[in-house]
Symmetry: C2
Subunit: 434 residues, 2 copies
Amino acid sequence: MTVHDAAAAAKKASWGLLSVSGEARNQVLERLCHLLDTHRERIFAANRADLEKAETEALSAPLLKRLKLDEKKLLSLLEGLSSLRRLPDPVGRVTLKRELSPGLILERRSCPIGVVGVIFESRPDALIQIGSLCIKSGNSFLLKGGREALETNRVLFSLLEEAGKGLLPDSFCALMESREDVGELLRQEGLVDLIIPRGSNAFIRYIMDHTRIPVMGHADGICHTYIDASADADTAVRVTVDAKTQALAVCNATETLLVHRDAAPLLPAVANALREKGVRLKGCERTCALIGCEAATEEDWRTEYLDAVLSVKIVDSLEEAVRHINRFGSHHTDCIITRDDEAARRFFLEVDSAGVYRNCSTRFADGFRYGFGAEVGISTSKLHARGPVGVEGLCTYKYTLSGEGHTVAEMESGARTYTHRNLPLPEQDVWKAD
Amino acid sequence: MTVHDAAAAAKKASWGLLSVSGEARNQVLERLCHLLDTHRERIFAANRADLEKAETEALSAPLLKRLKLDEKKLLSLLEGLSSLRRLPDPVGRVTLKRELSPGLILERRSCPIGVVGVIFESRPDALIQIGSLCIKSGNSFLLKGGREALETNRVLFSLLEEAGKGLLPDSFCALMESREDVGELLRQEGLVDLIIPRGSNAFIRYIMDHTRIPVMGHADGICHTYIDASADADTAVRVTVDAKTQALAVCNATETLLVHRDAAPLLPAVANALREKGVRLKGCERTCALIGCEAATEEDWRTEYLDAVLSVKIVDSLEEAVRHINRFGSHHTDCIITRDDEAARRFFLEVDSAGVYRNCSTRFADGFRYGFGAEVGISTSKLHARGPVGVEGLCTYKYTLSGEGHTVAEMESGARTYTHRNLPLPEQDVWKAD
């Protein structure tokens, strides 16, 4: 089957999915949990085969780590599936109900986007994560995994297919394996509604440059922590250390520390705590004078280190911190450490980022941590979905209008008139605690 | 000033706009109303100059009609501005509030997108319509109008600028005049967040093909009216006639009529009513046999006539109607005429369009008619905004997270735990009737 045929079949399936109930979609997730649980040995065996092949090909250690699917990763997949199943149905929610004129009722209802194309690099667990988000939100999907995870992907995909059998329309998902397939997938405008790439910055940029289909993803994560004039010393140390060191090669780690000049006396303690964790510091002139470190250049303000390196700048005001973040940041996640409510309010308002934080680590920018069950990724674009994207980001909406033979001619003649009166929304599920 | 400089200045202004209150933005709209009202003679004089020039250049009649800005169009602009002012502030609305862990509170708040680039053809009133939507939603904007409306645009733009003086940041808007400027504008990725083109299909397609900035617009409007087996005869006639003839060269006019075979006896009455209004019919074989008309080819099902022509097809079932609409339509607006609630429910669920209607004219697909005050256009893409797009479509959101020194390390060690408990949303303005 060609990619075009698979995309056409997925499109047809997406129309069938519009009338599959939330209960049925949850049942698929439950089955998938069960299948993953009972086929773990088969999964691990396939993954071992991939790993052995990768080792003979001398793949890098980080790549091998991402490729590995072990007991712990499987457990976290199963937990993710359970919490996803417990989330309310994202489809069919009424978000607007309005009488346009007596007897003419407008509603806006959430519905699936349609067909999602997912392209991911080495991590095979991404196949289940994103696939399950698509199922929950009623989308059909085409998957293309990394070549190095071929065997693992085949097993995981067969379990996905099996889970949907009889409950979802045929061809609700398809697996692609060759590099040429990616090029084909990127040309399926009109059939594929959204592309979600998961991988390195260069990979995502390549995808964005080679398709006219909308792409949801983020290119850079240059996050800031800003220690304000009125910061609490202990909070400044704790939060900065976590934001920089809790994980290194991740998009929500802090890459630049800004410090208000009045908070500069806190800087030596922060620097010591970071250095104890093995972080190399690069500072502006004033920073170097205060704590003795390498000099930073303008290039550093634009750099996502993804490593144990942090650039540090002393600023004269909250305004200067905001200007620096809006200019050099990547509009991902930025934090202010402050005891001053007015400073926090201004920071929240004026920083142009998907996540704006106060007194907590930038590392919280994540779909699981936000309670979305899982995420397809974090979006730094402003349209459609911004920040961590869960099932809501895989939905769009439609307007329904019910009348009694209403015509525009009558409205224009004055025979009927507009009322534009909002009506109460029908009662809906409320997001609940786990 | 180059387009790049204007875009950079607009970007800076967009950050300043983040802290301009809704009251101040409404005051700008009020001033604009007043300025348009008191400068009407200046506006009409400029428009006469454009019209005279256009006549010497032998522009087509429809183009001249769109170019003309008369008393009636001005009045409708003023009414639009007043109703836009009365709408609640689309900025700063809290749409999610959740405790992630005790003391760690997540909020999702609406905020402006940033910088909007608007490119429109002959209609000068679009300048005020879209400009005012940008002001209401706190976006800065770059405008490029049609060459033929040069003088009118200059006057309208100077009034827009004047209205914002002292209330909005400098450079919150700019006017571009040359064709080369459009090419430059389309290259301002990173500075311009969204392009909104208004004009012909070919024009919008050209814009989409020549920029990497997201484009909001629609390419086609192939709308259907479907007369179901249980349709009421009078409703079928009234609604079909309005949907086809209330206006012709508009995207929300019906282009194809589908009729359930059990409702075929209604077709002659519908056909007569349409023919009385001068509509030419093109039908499938069964239609031709029943009412005697030109034969339609498959090409007709894909054609947006924008004229007094309607293609007609008799279908065997609701499913066939839905399949036809999803396959040949443009996912704009489609209507079912039925007395059967279950048929309507299925049609609402299964038709993959921005607007799905029952017993009313497809011509209702419009931002004014939906009570949005105005619209920047109607989107047939599925991402971000779908259907008529008003101020909400010019907003995005940001997540704010407030903690008390929360770190991810503590969460992972189990020292703190996630609760993911939704909190009541703060009270907000409710959309009110005019």
